[in-house]
Symmetry: C3
Subunit: 167 residues, 3 copies
């Protein structure tokens, strides 16, 4: 976890400027929140599995033996709610993470960048809570959704302007 260089050498000082390395605090912040969001996405699989067990809704014949269900079933509302939340994660968290990585590589203001990453990631954690764990009346889910949505748009706009000459 240490690159073996001390700050005393000029090369080491220069290395502090490599944007996609953990010597950049923005990248450190990104790495922390990426790990949290990836864990959250993995938990969705477990939540789906729990709902499938509870409602005995299995989509594959080879899974029936696990719960002694008589036949494959589809479309249980509880299973489908978790699956919709999971799909929503794929549609939004993965683009957000990829976009944030590219945004960091464009060298933004460190304070702004860290703020955007923290808020964007927290909003997605909240989104899962109000969608799949405790269904809450609207607009709770919409607010959480559009927070990360707007941040991803801002990051994309910033990089577009910053890299327009490479089109």
């Amino acid at each position: 976890m240490d690159n073996g260089l001390t700050d005393a050498t000029p090369t080491a000082a220069a290395f502090r400027l490599i944007l996609l390395s953990k010597s950049n605090p923005v990248m450190g912040c990104y790495m922390f929140w990426t790990s949290l969001l990836v864990l959250k996405m993995l938990v969705m699989s477990l939540l789906t599995g729990r709902q499938r067990m509870k409602t005995k809704t299995f989509a594959n014949p080879e899974d029936l033996r696990l719960s002694r269900s008589p036949e494959v079933r589809f479309g249980d509302p509880n299973v489908e709610r978790v699956r919709r939340a999971h799909r929503n994660d794929l549609e939004n968290i993965l683009p957000f993470l990829l976009m944030s990585l590219v945004y960091i590589a464009s060298g933004p203001n460190p304070l702004t960048a860290r703020l955007l990453i923290r808020i964007g990631a927290s909003a997605r954690l909240l989104h899962t809570v109000v969608y799949a764990i405790i269904p809450v009346p609207q607009p709770a889910r919409s607010l959480a959704f559009f927070t990360t949505f707007a941040i991803t748009c801002f990051e994309a706009g910033y990089v577009l302007v910053c890299c327009i000459k490479y089109i």
Copy 2:
């Protein structure tokens, strides 16, 4: 947005060689087109929302109040078409973007790399137009699909050969 080094120092010259940084024009090109594709994917969510509003097809009970629909509905053809296009994006754009990043890290010919990124990304923009916005007779959609498909395969093949010794 500036790393504070001038080209006069040898270290700065060496930094121009870091592949995953915006000092590399290929990475700049990748960053520009990634932002466009991410924006395009986010627009798919809005298109789905518009179709849901128009056809009053809502999948969650808590969303019904928004449009005064009497009950949850599924399987409207207009909503499903946009959702299939969105899923197709997840299946193809995300692997294309990840593969291109790894391809850039392998140090390809800059001209080839930029050409592949530009064509691959443009084909996906076209794919959305002919799938979800103005449905066009085949083979328009297939051509757009297989263009990016072939480019992603080429990039994967290039990296496989280039990194075979690290297997």
Copy 3:
């Protein structure tokens, strides 16, 4: 494919320490297996197409002419099995690849990191075989699934601890 620097210069030696570059053997290993997994995911599209052709199950009216099918159809069990396997890939391979990239950037032990990448990627290749190609009785699919699942969790935990100060 060569950065034009020899090991004789101190700068070149320092460059060997950039984690997200192919001069890092862990990154080379990651690049190889990422290419394999991306190719595998693309093959899922072809498998779906083959099942659609075989069972004449097309979801879009404009695709009917290709196979002279009379109307759009949904829910064929063979098509749906491949689509579930494909969706499972999106839910697991993409987070695994993104998480592994961040894990490499955190500078883990090279031997451990390469081992985790190799096992995690191989388990996903196996998962596709037992899910979509030759359906095998459980727990074959569960074992393959939870291998990559556990590795992704471990990587996320490692990065969380390593980057907690950047929260």
